[in-house]
Structure formats: structure tokens, C-alpha cells
Amino acid sequence: MDMEEFTNRIFAIKTTSKQERTVANNIKKAIETNATDVQVVAIIVPDELKGYVLVETPESQARIEQLVEKVAHARTVVRGETTLGEVAHFLVPKPVVSGISEGTIVELIAGPFKGEKAVVKRIDTGKEEITVELYESVLPIPITVRGDNVRVVDRGEAS
């Protein structure tokens, strides 16, 4: 028993807008209630992949197309299968501070300083926090914010 025994395929199913998680739940329900005999063993819904879910299945594309017809908010199967290797990066989401380094110029997009520009002084990858100094402030007070509360404006020359 090792990983090499798996012969599952990965298919992408297109969903109606903002119904990705609903489609995943609906597939689970269809299988659990025996509304379909099509087998799916797992479904990934990455936030980055808007409008799609990825199903892990031993079935063929034609069988997944049969499943889609029975699942509300599932629209079509994207032509062609992929492998787990190609979608594995979705299983380990990138830290939100990736792409930000010391000297990067960011805009705060949440909190009391929303809309202000700032320079990144320090990054805590583990906590996914960055410490910034407001750009046009007379007193450069360091502020620590969550990495997803900023938008990169300019990466600077450093990197």
C-alpha cells in the first residue's frame, strides 16, 4: 500500500458564480443519498480558482458529465483531465505575505489607515504580518498589519 496505487484523475467542473462550495456540498450530497452512482472521492475548492471546483475521481470524463447534469449549480466539465501533481499547489496555499519584501511600497486596504501608502519595514512570515511605516507621515510610526490588509504598489529595486 503506497501512493503509487492511486489511479484517480482530476477534472475541473465549471460552476455558477460564487457557488463553488455549494457545488462541492451538492456533489457530496448526491453521492451520499445515492442520487448518482458516479464516484468522486474528494473535491478541492481553492479560493484562487473562481468559478471552478476540482474533483478527484476514478471515473471517466463522460461519467463526470453525467454527474454534472444532476448537481445544481454545476455547469460543465472542462475538457481533459489533469493530475494531482498539477493541482497539488492548491493544497498548500501560499502565505499572504509572499511577494512582499523589505522596502516594498504598499497601500493599506483595511483598518484606520485605509488608503494610505506605506513602506514595508519587517515581515513575519509565520504570523503572516508585516510592519510598515506610513509614507507621507511626519512621524514615522511603525504599524503592524495582516499581510492580506495591504496591496503591493511598488516592489522597489531591492528585489
Binding site: 484517480n8 453521492i31 472521492v41 474528494a42 473535491i43 478541492i44 481553492p46 479560493d47 493544497l91 503572516e128
Partner: protein, 70 residues
């Protein structure tokens, strides 16, 4: 209606220990009450024994999970 749906989605809690979606005060599997509403990526495991994804993520039980929990 859209706003209600968005608000509901926000309130879904997951277990910080095992990443399972939790309904109630504590995780039904590991008993932890260390829960979070701050998570991204969603995973539904139907048949963990036959799923390579479940195996890679060390998930042994069927259920709904978050891929990343803060």
C-alpha cells in the same frame, strides 16, 4: 439576499487543530474548542481511503475541511 449568503459564509467555523468544519461549540472529532472563522480554501473528502488528496493531507475521515486556517 446576496449579503445574507455572504454573512453566513463568513460565520462558518473550522477547527484549528484538524481543519474540520465545525457546527456547534467544539470539534466533533478532536474535541477542540479552538475554532476559527478566518480560513481559506475548501475541501470535501468523501472517501478518504481511496483519495490521494486525503492521504497527502493526512485526512482519515470523510467530511468538510478548510485548506488553510489562521
Amino acid at each position: 439576499m446576496v449579503n445574507v449568503a455572504a454573512a453566513k459564509k463568513k460565520l462558518v467555523q473550522v477547527c484549528r487543530e484538524c481543519h474540520r468544519v465545525v457546527e456547534g461549540e467544539s470539534c466533533a472529532v478532536c474535541g477542540s474548542s479552538n475554532l476559527s472563522t478566518d480560513w481559506t480554501g475548501y475541501l470535501v473528502v468523501i472517501d478518504p481511503k481511496r483519495s490521494e488528496i486525503a492521504k497527502r493531507l493526512n485526512i482519515a475521515l470523510p467530511g468538510r475541511y478548510a485548506l488553510k486556517v489562521r
